[in-house]
């Protein structure tokens, strides 16, 4: 090698006054203090998190009122969330880090303390899969319908992304096609607009029906009101909202598993001090082994979509039973109460059949 390329690192500076102040104000909280280039940084544990954050916002000597930035980071075994704060009152700045294990990505929310955290947390949740407990509205932000995978995690492949995205889309199409052939509809959760539309349709139908029957205006109103109430009820119980969209994760999972294998093999090879050539060969070996395993050992990932399919079919069949029972009941002219009972009965029968 002709050139040494790493620039020299400055020696780590002493912990700043802010960190000392924190230690003083929050005894019993473990702070790991580093001073990065622009901000003081403290790393805290998840258990102390809420307490620390409330102090940061509320304590008069700290008063961090401005949340500049909230970022996630993936450290393979752990996920990290970094908060950058600024205090307009005192003019000091601080970075706070908190880590959570990869398998249990939960961090308490701070969106009730800083409104700015709302979208940042939504984005971090979407990109890293970190769940911010207590967040009021943790919908996906950048992808309205959600992705089903976490693109900014290191395990998410960057190359070949088009290829497996195509696979993902075709899997969704496949699921839709199957759903269509099964006769029911596997609607995704209703959006606000759709709900409003359904409601309007329902109201119109109810009113037309009432008018056709020649009810008095009061009765008509009551009938419409009843229809709306029923719709609301159904909506809350999930009978109308539709089943969740299928999530054929198999290809993604496969890619991720593969990436893991590669990383592992490579670090192993490096650990053994192999040459580049050998390392490559070693990694190739590992991949080959992995694929063989997948092909031979009844890949668990490949089985997943099938299970999903059956679940959808079940839901569809169930919906069919409900519709049928309801129609039947209406045809017989049952009261609402009886109708509900009748439907419940039919459902029970259906589940019993399924179990058998």
């Amino acid at each position: 090698m002709t050139q040494e390329t790493v620039q020299e690192a400055a020696p780590p500076p002493e912990p700043g006054p802010l960190a000392r102040l924190l230690q003083e104000l929050l005894p019993g909280v473990g702070f790991a203090i580093t001073v990065t280039l622009l901000d003081e940084t403290v790393t805290i544990g998840r258990d102390d998190f809420t307490r620390v954050m409330e102090t940061l916002k509320g304590h008069e000597r700290l008063r961090f009122d401005y949340l500049r930035c909230l970022s996630g980071a993936d450290y393979l075994t752990e996920l990290e969330t970094v908060y950058h704060f600024y205090s307009f009152e005192h003019g000091h700045k601080l970075a706070v880090k908190v880590r959570c294990p990869y398998d249990d990505p939960h961090v308490p929310t701070v969106s009730h303390l800083w409104a700015a955290a709302n979208w940042h947390e939504r984005e971090t949740h979407e990109m890293y899969g970190i769940v911010f407990d207590g967040h009021p509205d943790l919908r996906p932000l950048l992808t309205e319908e959600g992705l089903g995978y976490f693109p900014l995690r290191k395990s998410h492949p960057l190359a070949d992304i088009e290829e497996w995205q195509e696979g993902y889309l075709s899997a969704i199409d496949e699921a839709k096609r199957q759903a269509a052939s099964a006769g029911g509809e596997a609607a995704p959760p209703m959006s606000k607009v759709e709900i409003a539309q359904a409601k309007a349709k329902l109201m119109k139908e109810a009113r037309d029906k009432a008018r056709a029957e020649g009810l008095s205006p009061e009765d008509e109103k009551a009938a419409v009101r009843a229809a709306i109430d029923k719709f609301q009820e159904d909506l809350e119980s999930g009978a109308v909202g539709g089943a969740a969209a299928p999530a054929p994760m198999s290809k993604v999972e496969l890619a991720q598993a593969k990436a893991k294998v590669i990383t592992k093999a490579r670090s192993e090879a490096r650990g053994q001090g192999m040459t580049t050539e050998d390392e490559k060969a070693f990694v190739a070996e590992a991949i080959k082994k992995f694929s063989e395993e997948q092909a031979g050992g009844g890949a668990p990932a490949a089985a997943a979509p099938k299970k999903e399919m059956s679940k959808i079919e079940l839901a569809q069949a169930k919906a069919k039973v409900i519709t049928k029972a309801r129609n039947e009941a209406r045809a017989k002219g049952m009261s609402t109460e009886d109708e509900k009972k009748f439907v419940a009965e039919a459902l029970k029968n259906f589940s019993a059949e399924q179990d058998a």
Partner: protein, 379 residues
């Protein structure tokens, strides 16, 4: 005489439905591929659901797989109206990490270009905003007329009109042309005239006053809580500008004022931006006087640039507010974690709080006053 039994139905007797109006992703008011679902009660908006992400390109993930210099081009494409400001932020972050000191001349070049870029961005804002308020493209044309001048000037220096890729860790890619000073003065002279044109159209215009004054007022505390930065924050009366609060680069050497508003309403936001253009002109004039000769790239740089282990959250004052880059380095030639704190992303998150209870027409100009750039929001 027969009496007619007639009762007027009260409001509560009628079943009413909220109307959801879907604005965007292709709508003249959304400045790009932004969508919002408005729930309206007549003309009054009762709920706003902003939907973003139509332009998400993974601009945070891509640089994690590029080396430090390759990633500059991706920063041009985040805030694509203030490319030099974004490059300035990223380049400084890398310099902080690697310990490179940029040369004096390159610092001046950077500041001049970044300030000119701030002017183009604000011109774009004034043009687009006036279209939202309803001027039939006139202010837009005047703004673009002058923006075009600056872009031509940038093209003469960097070769590109929008995606410059010109700042480098340690300096700038190549030196400016010999006639840089004269050309720059000439451009600035034109811009000053152009600003007065825009002022003539907008400032103190009765219709603009009627539309914008007192609309969507924001208190300083609210703005801080929502993470709002830049002209929106300054319009609330807080004198906070990163160029003065945490001077980076060589901004501490220049004399300029921080324009602030009083009420935090739409009109103040417009005025603050117009004033900021004048202040940028001031900075450029000072920098032109003091710009030294000398090398434009730091000595002794390595072909492969590696940063020692460490992290930095670098922030600069972009035209829309605080543009930040959070870099984590692990000793490799590429960042391990690369995060962009986009100003208009945070400002946009306050849209709902700002606009509920206003008219549909007002939501359009409230959105316009935030000055979103979708490349930055979605990244």
């Amino acid at each position: 005489m027969a009496t007619i039994d007639y009762t007027i139905p009260g409001e509560h007797d009628l079943e009413t439905l909220d109307i959801h109006v879907n604005v965007g992703p292709q709508h003249p008011a959304t400045h790009g591929v932004f969508r919002m679902v408005l729930t309206v009660d007549g003309e009054v908006v009762t709920d706003v659901d902003p939907i973003i992400g139509y332009m998400h390109r993974g601009n945070e993930k891509l640089p994690e797989n590029c080396d430090f210099r390759q990633a500059i081009g991706f920063h041009d494409r985040t805030d694509y109206l203030a490319q030099f400001n974004t490059e300035h932020c990223y380049v400084q972050a890398v310099e902080k990490l690697t310990g490179i000191t940029p040369t004096e001349r390159s610092e001046y070049i950077r500041v001049i270009l970044a300030e000119l870029n701030r002017i183009t961005s604000h011109q774009m804002f004034v043009g687009a905003f006036s279209t939202d308020v309803g001027i039939f493209g006139t202010a837009f044309m005047y703004a673009f007329r002058d923006r075009e001048l600056i872009q031509d000037f940038f093209e003469e220096i960097t070769g590109e009109r929008m995606m410059y890729n010109y700042f480098r860790p340690g300096g700038v890619a190549w030196d400016v042309p010999d006639n840089f000073r004269e050309r720059c003065r000439q451009v600035i002279g034109q811009i000053k005239k152009g600003i007065s044109d825009l002022e003539g159209l907008i400032v103190n215009n009765e219709v603009v006053l009627a539309r914008c004054c007192g609309l969507s007022r924001m208190s300083t505390a609210d703005a801080i809580n929502w993470g709002v930065s830049g002209p929106l924050l300054r319009a609330t009366g807080l004198e906070y500008d990163l160029r003065k609060a945490e001077p980076y680069s060589i901004y501490d050497r220049f004399e300029f004022d921080i324009p602030t508003g009083k009420d935090g309403d739409i009109y103040d936001r417009v005025i603050v931006r117009i004033e900021e253009m004048k202040q940028s002109v001031r900075i450029v004039e000072q920098a032109l006087l003091r710009m030294p000769d000398g090398p434009i790239m730091a000595e002794g740089l390595k072909r492969v640039l590696r940063a020692p282990e460490g992290e930095v959250y670098m922030r600069v004052e972009g035209p829309r507010g605080e543009y930040g880059v959070y870099l984590v380095a692990t000793g490799a030639d590429k960042p391990y974690r690369h995060r962009v704190r986009a100003a208009s992303f945070c400002n946009l998150s306050a849209l709902r709080a700002m606009s509920v209870g206003n008219y549909v027409s007002d939501v359009v100009i409230i959105l316009g006053s935030i000055d979103i750039v979708l490349g930055e929001v979605d990244r």
